[in-house]
Amino acid sequence: MNLLGFFSSHRAEILEATLAHLFLVVVSMAIAIAIGVPLGMILVKRARLRAMALGFASVLQTIPSLALFGFLIPLPLLGGIGTRTATVALVLYALLPILRNTVVGLTNLDPAVLEAAEAMGMTETQVLMRVRFPLGLSVVLAGVRTATVITIGVATIAAAIGAGGLGTFIFRGVAMVNDAVILAGAIPAALLALAADGALGLLERKLKVV
């Protein structure tokens, strides 16, 4: 069966898988941001803990995704087969770029501006919320952007543990040795990644100060 033929005959199925994929990515990213950004903010003033947290997140990143999914399956509460386990794994992968960029964005600022803020009698929280965060926001967002693109890609592998999404087509296509079926998963996933990258890149430039 040719590619276009497969796409048109499986329109509804592809759309459904794309939405499931998107849902998995959005939920995972929301959780990763909710953990990574506040954690990064807490770590701004704690150098030793910061090194530990970034080291831990880097180690997580080095675990091959298929292996991480495998490790998670036997775990109680977090594990098992399905979307929940996939979400846990995707959150762990997304954490490093978000955490690292939050820390870098909030610490790598003009020292004169930080000194002025302190000398004006701002509390640590005020410096964080009114100076560090707005000035570092575009760098934080760059981390979210990287994490989103990674998550869209890794989420295809989540189909291996029954989480659904576009990976379903890819695994099926590999098993059937059918390129059209593989591409029915790969092309929408690539388009999703490009669209997310473009949209977040636009937002990032908009929020950039100076």
């Binding site: 004169a112 501006v113 000194e115 002025a116 803020a117 302190e118 009698g121 707005p134 000035l135």
Partner: protein, 260 residues
Amino acid sequence: MNAKAVDHSEITVAFHAVKYCAPNHTATPILSDITLEIRRGETVVLLGRSGSGKTTLLKLVNRLLKPSAGEISVNGQPTDLVDPIRLRRGIGYVIQEGGLFPHYTVAENIGLVPGLEGWGRDRIEARIAKMMQLVGLELGEFGGRKPRELSGGQRQRVGVARALAADPEILLMDEPFGALDPVTRAELQNEFADLARRLGKTILFVTHDLREAMRVGSRIVMLAGGRIVADAPPSEFLRVDHAEVRAFANSFAMPNEARA
């Protein structure tokens, strides 16, 4: 000129036997034996070459740095007994290039400390207008601009306006005009000297420029190697018998003056 009634006998900032060592460098103190009393309304210039400790001395006043030994008092209170946030809200701070917040407009930069102090919106707006007038910037033209849309001289004016916004009694200035071209610098120095006399604030002004010291100061304190080596009003400063004073005087002499 409506000069404020200022009691010049009152001591606003006092250093007593202060020593400061950088963390991990306790063998070579940056400042030693600093004893200094600054009276209300004085403009004290801290003059010295790079590394003489003048900026360090300035930062000890608002507790950006803590002394290794000795005591510093502001308005009669030892600074280690005061909440540093409260202390700093009462002390204006101006640095080179202004240290303005790039994500805030000029007006927002100036209104920041009054905002932190919980002033009402109308009072803050009135204050912003007054401060901009004070430093010679048109509110309508510049109030809504971001710092990057200003020239160096304008940024420095905003820095001064921001430091004065909450009406602090003390002003700390760390080479505020250092990054400006010579013409703009001279303009700002003269305006500032005039402003300082009118406002009656106690001012500590760091510079390595003898001409600037002469122009803005009512008293020049010279630092060398972390110690005070001269302390005199501008009119008598050049007569102080110290090698560092002579070194500064020579370096600033015009060629024809040097020959004479």
